[in-house]
């Protein structure tokens, strides 16, 4: 996984933050077209899934990388999840989750007869234990369990009931509590005091599989957990195989040596004729062209945006329309709060030219910084350069090394570049996007500041119900669009290739970060 700053900053709503590397190793290579049927067909009793590197942390309390979270989601279970498409809550360990009228207390009832894989019962005490250690700031992942300056507290009412008390009302905190915290057994970890490390002594959870062997740099092997609340998984063994080279992965998919992996659009043609199904799905990523706002006049920013044709940019980067969905706002198109009622900056070269003239900048020249090792960004940059030229704006391309792009733009006014390419996954809850666009926020790469927008972010969290929130965030998206901070290009779909012998993909559900929401629902055909 590349560094976060190379491209995607990804932050699940209610969630542990997940960094998703762009993972675009040169996808083209030797071993071309499939010439024979590669299906192994037979049941092997195992599902082998490729991951690109060792998980950075196996500790479910603080893990934040894609593969660490994948691991946590296999071995452990949260109380509930948020559906990436609808924003609705789906219960997992919880039987019901109810908020009090004033929104300051949340009562969670657990399903009866829950068990950890070692046979011990999973009770309210375990839930309280988990939330208490996660809320400890030193353990490194407490932010979502705090509202302003105070933590959310958990108390066990009885064996199956937990009450959470919020210090202040927060629309976002409700889902923060319910989701993405993986419940640990107190009887195993109770004596542990420090959860800031990247490993635990053992991994006992209630998830669909239990870890049986971990060979660093090679694989993680799991066995089905017969006590899983969703029923014993039908595939006995699950293997996460660590392979970083994209060409190797492609060949292994073709031969059936591995069953599934993420792939990039350029590999799809080679996989045709192989016994693998291709499943593109939105991850809620926004790929964008950003502006270091203090460095570029507003009229010139708008002129630049009007000179661009997002269809051409997206096509250059992701080849075919089925690989992406156009994005127009700071929220990805699949987000339930996303609006299209805003300035979309559909291409209008005459308007762009007029705006250049209005800006009063003669022969405008802008420097565009991008990650030169990422073929998709290379393609985007080249198209942007030629399109802007048509409106009389010269864009100079500055190819930078991965992490240095964001180090450079963080210098704000002193930055050597005016524009940059990036992408982020921030999840469902629109408040998470305040990290990018609020004045002085930690990931405000745009050096953007608009008090009206800051106020709207405050209003959005305080809003009483969803329709009120929707209205606030619609206004907010429109404001940011008018300020021409950010030119949204597309949500490039995540593409996973899965061997045809594997079934149950709809039930297992493809989701962002974890790949499969429920690994336990996969079957062998």
């Amino acid at each position: 996984m590349k560094s976060l700053k190379t491209g995607i900053l990804s932050l699940l709503v209610a969630a542990p933050l997940a960094l998703a590397g762009c993972g675009n190793d040169g996808a083209d290579g030797g071993g071309g077209g499939a010439s024979e049927d590669a299906s192994t067909g037979a049941k092997t009793g195992a599902f082998t899934y490729v991951i690109s590197s060792d998980p950075t942390s196996l500790n479910p309390i603080n893990t934040g990388d894609r593969w660490g979270l994948t691991f946590a989601n296999i071995v452990y279970q949260p109380l509930a999840r948020i559906d990436g498409a609808t924003g609705e809550q789906e219960l997992d360990l919880a039987e019901s989750i109810e908020a009090s009228e004033d929104g300051l207390a949340v009562t969670v009832k657990l399903k009866p007869d829950l068990k950890f894989s070692d046979g011990e019962a999973l009770t309210a005490a375990d839930v309280v234990f988990t939330y208490n250690i996660k809320a400890v700031k030193d353990n490194g992942n407490a932010d979502l369990l705090w509202v302003r300056d105070k933590p959310i507290t958990a108390t066990a009412v009885d064996d199956l009931t937990v009450r959470f008390d919020l210090p202040y009302y927060s629309a976002a905190a409700l889902s923060n509590i319910a989701t993405e915290t993986f419940i640990l057994p107190e009887h195993i970890y109770g004596a542990e005091t420090d959860f800031s490390g990247s490993e635990l002594a053992e991994y006992i959870g209630s998830g669909p599989y239990t870890l049986t062997e971990y060979k660093r740099g090679e694989y993680l092997e799991f066995a089905a957990n017969p006590l899983y609340s969703g029923g014993q998984p039908s595939i006995e063994k699950l293997v996460l195989r660590i392979v970083s080279n994209a060409d190797t992965v492609k060949a292994a998919l073709q031969t059936g040596e591995v069953d599934a992996s993420y792939v990039v659009p350029a590999q799809l043609a080679d996989l045709e004729g192989s016994p693998v199904g291709i499943y593109p799905y939105p991850e809620g990523r926004v790929a964008y062209l950003g502006v270091v706002t203090p460095k570029v006049d507003l009229k010139l920013r708008q002129a630049l945006f009007f000179s661009l044709d997002r269809t051409q940019i997206a096509k250059a980067a992701w080849l075919e329309e089925k690989n992406y969905q156009y994005a127009y706002s700071i929220l990805p198109p699949s987000n339930p709060y996303a609006t299209t009622d805003l300035e979309k900056y559909d291409i209008d070269v005459d308007k762009a030219k007029a705006l250049v003239a209005e800006s009063g900048v003669a022969d405008p020249t802008l420097k565009l910084g991008y990650d030169g090792s990422d073929p998709q960004q290379q393609a985007e940059a080249a198209v942007i350069q030629s399109e802007a030229q048509a409106a009389g704006i010269t864009v100079e391309l500055v190819s930078l090394d991965g992490g240095t792009v964001f180090d450079e733009i963080e210098k704000g006014v002193d930055s050597a570049v005016d524009l940059f390419l990036g992408g982020y996954i921030m999840g469902i809850d629109p408040d998470a996007y305040s990290l990018l666009f609020r004045t002085d926020a930690s990931a405000n790469y745009f050096s953007y500041s608009n008090p009206a927008v800051d106020k709207l972010f405050d209003d959005g969290v305080a809003a009483a119900d969803q329709s009120a929130r929707k209205a606030v965030y619609a206004e907010l998206q429109a404001k940011i669009a008018d300020d021409a901070v950010f030119f949204a290009i597309a949500d490039n779909l995540k593409i996973i290739a899965i061997n045809d012998r594997i079934g149950g993909i709809d039930q297992a559900k493809l989701v962002s970060i974890y790949t499969f929401e429920k690994f336990g629902s996969l079957t062998e055909k």
Partner: protein
Amino acid sequence: MLIYTAKRLAGAIPLLLAVSMVVFGAMHLAPYDVIDSFARPDMTQEQEDRLRQRYGLDRPVPIQYLNWLAGVLRGNFGYSLVSQHSIADDLATKIPNSITLVAPAYLLALAIAIVLGLVAGANRGRPLDTAIDTGNAIGISLPTFWFALLVIYLFGYHLRWFPIIGMHSVGQTDLPDLARHLAMPCLVLTVAFFPDLARYVRSSTISQLGEDYVTVQRAFGASTSAIFRRHVSRHVLAPIITQVGLALPMLVTGAVITETIFAWPGVGKYFLDAVHQMDYPVVMAVLLLSSALVVVGNLLADILYRVADPRVRLTGAAA
């Protein structure tokens, strides 16, 4: 000989120090560091600073270097900043994996090179020589990653003879399984290693054939094969010993690309990942190890050469 060895080893210390300083300095010239590689967007500057402080990254570079050096002198290579794993432990599992891959490939390459080199040298200028030489030239210019993909396509995908990924099938550690996984990467490495060696043997053979002793043997009516068996091959093999000594560091870092492509859990892949993540303690440990092996390998080559060739010993004594 003992004194000579001790002197050489002592002389290597400043060299290793210099290497470590240059590498350390270069890594810290980069505009970002390991914290950037795993920091999350929600982290405040304060949190990042706290992490930097914890790893000593907030200190001046020379102080960081001295701290690192003090650790190494106590035999402590430290921990990976990314995984928090003991580097010594990681290397203890990865070095044998790399040797398992590189050693057979190198020995195979050496055997092929000796045969081809002698044959080419003996047939200098003839079609056979040209053919071998052309083969060597192609071998030298083949990019390893490309050749590896061809091998995967042919033997892994098309013929389905060998598995593509890793060193073992999941959960298996037996020898036949290892051999099946070893076949393709070993082939790739053998092809990467042998052309250079073969050229070396060939040129050495040619120069030996011009020596007076060969003329004398011919004059006595010895057959070409007898000349080769009894005389030329021995003279040619002596300098090969030095090549073997020089190859010592390759055992550890000789297969970076091949390991990455075949997902072989060796030092090369470990090193490459660490470079990507700016995990400097790992990079430093591997580089120090490999430069130490270069020094030891050179020394070994010199010593073996002295043992094998009395003339060197005499010159050394005279000097």
